[in-house]
């Protein structure tokens, strides 16, 4: 029984950790509108852009996964958000080597970086913040984190989910991903809830409907209130997402998609 379980764990680790990339192209660009529920009305607040590109690094070429979130110009005078999330990953396995997160939100600045060492099972974490009261001065802190091989940052995880062979799964099947965020590893469960056709700005799309929950936490509220729709084709692009957290609820809608692999 123990050997069987070990074999199963190795299988899933191998499967998830080293699945070939069949979904993510090298010049893909997805643009989304992020909206937040204010007094019962969904108000468009920001744009999220997810882009990929090939970059030379080390002994070869990596895939750069770049996600930028910016408030629309009309909101900038009230609360300006300009966040950049990046992961530099293996083109074939989508395993990350480096993750960077730079956030600028209403004057608050934070930079976070993880440099993975898969062989050693560690990641070097770097945190950088502004010195209080000083405009251009920063302080930084480094620490070493111990990680299992199938722990990834949030950007790499999103692209890994897109690379899953969802067509093989049945409704109700779920998978748990270990997501590294702010030096904490959080288990996130993705459950296949079914298939739905959605009318989007890029046309009518048949989609996989996925439920997202955080194991052992109520950060994401409600039962099946946090949902993600991926196109049910080889690209599996996210076209719609709904989320519900303590401070409210919102949604993400696709506006355009280009440079798709398939």
């Amino acid at each position: 029984m123990k050997q069987g379980l070990t074999a199963l764990i190795i299988f899933f680790t191998f499967f998830f950790g080293n699945a070939q990339n069949n979904s993510i192209g090298a010049n893909e660009k997805l643009v989304f509108t992020a909206s937040y529920n204010m007094s019962g009305l969904m108000t468009d607040l920001a744009q999220l852009t997810m882009e990929t590109s090939e970059v030379s690094a080390g002994s070869g070429t990596l895939l750069r996964l770049k996600c930028r979130a910016q408030t629309f110009k009309k909101w900038d005078n009230f609360f300006k958000i300009n966040d950049l999330y990046e992961s530099y990953v293996n083109k074939n396995s989508l395993n990350p080597y480096l993750h960077k997160r730079e956030i600028n939100e209403g004057g608050y600045y934070k930079f976070k970086q993880y440099k993975y060492n898969r062989k050693a099972g560690t990641a070097e974490a770097l945190l950088k913040k502004k010195v209080k009261g000083e405009q251009d001065k920063y302080w930084s802190k480094k620490e070493n984190l111990k990680l299992s091989n199938n722990t990834f940052d949030i950007v790499a995880t999103i692209y890994k989910i897109r690379n899953l062979d969802i067509y093989k799964a049945s409704v109700g099947d779920s998978d748990t991903f270990k997501v590294l965020f702010d030096n904490q590893v959080t288990p996130v469960r993705i459950t296949l809830l079914g298939k739905e056709s959605l009318n989007t700005e890029i046309g009518m799309k048949e989609c996989y409907k996925l439920g997202i929950s955080i194991v052992g936490s109520d950060v994401l509220k409600g039962n099946n209130s946090n949902l993600l729709w991926l196109t049910a084709d080889a690209n599996k692009i996210p076209v719609y997402a709904k989320f519900k957290v303590a401070v409210g609820n919102g949604e993400l809608r696709i506006r355009s998609a280009s440079g798709l692999k398939n």
Partner: protein, 109 residues
């Protein structure tokens, strides 16, 4: 009663006007509609005593102004992000720093 309704209508009109100026879009219509209803109620309450409607007319003007501003913003305010040289430079710099961090990397197949 009429005075209270008028004050509440004025408050609603001002909130609607402020929300109309700010980019809150359709949310401004919530206090504006409430304001219109309160104006109507204040007018009906004042009819019996032949009270002056000048104040209510001023409030109505504010409500119409707020509504026009909201409609204008909804039609003409585009959902656009700022694309500055600063942002492009940030991304180029970030890439260069990443390449520097990864210069000794042996990429697995």
């Amino acid at each position: 009663m009429r005075v209270l309704l008028s004050i509440l209508a004025l408050l609603a009109a001002l909130i609607g006007l402020i929300l109309g100026i700010l980019p809150f879009g359709g949310i401004a219509f919530i206090p504006l509609v409430i304001g219109i209803l309160l104006v109507a109620m204040a007018y009906i309450a004042g009819r019996k005593t032949n009270a002056s409607t000048r104040f209510l007319k001023i409030i109505s003007t504010l409500i119409i102004l707020g509504a026009l501003l909201s409609i204008y913003r909804s039609v003409f305010d585009k959902n656009e992000v700022e694309q500055t040289e600063e942002i492009i430079e940030q991304e180029v710099e970030s890439l260069e720093e990443a390449q520097e961090e990864l210069k000794d990397l042996e990429i697995e197949n």
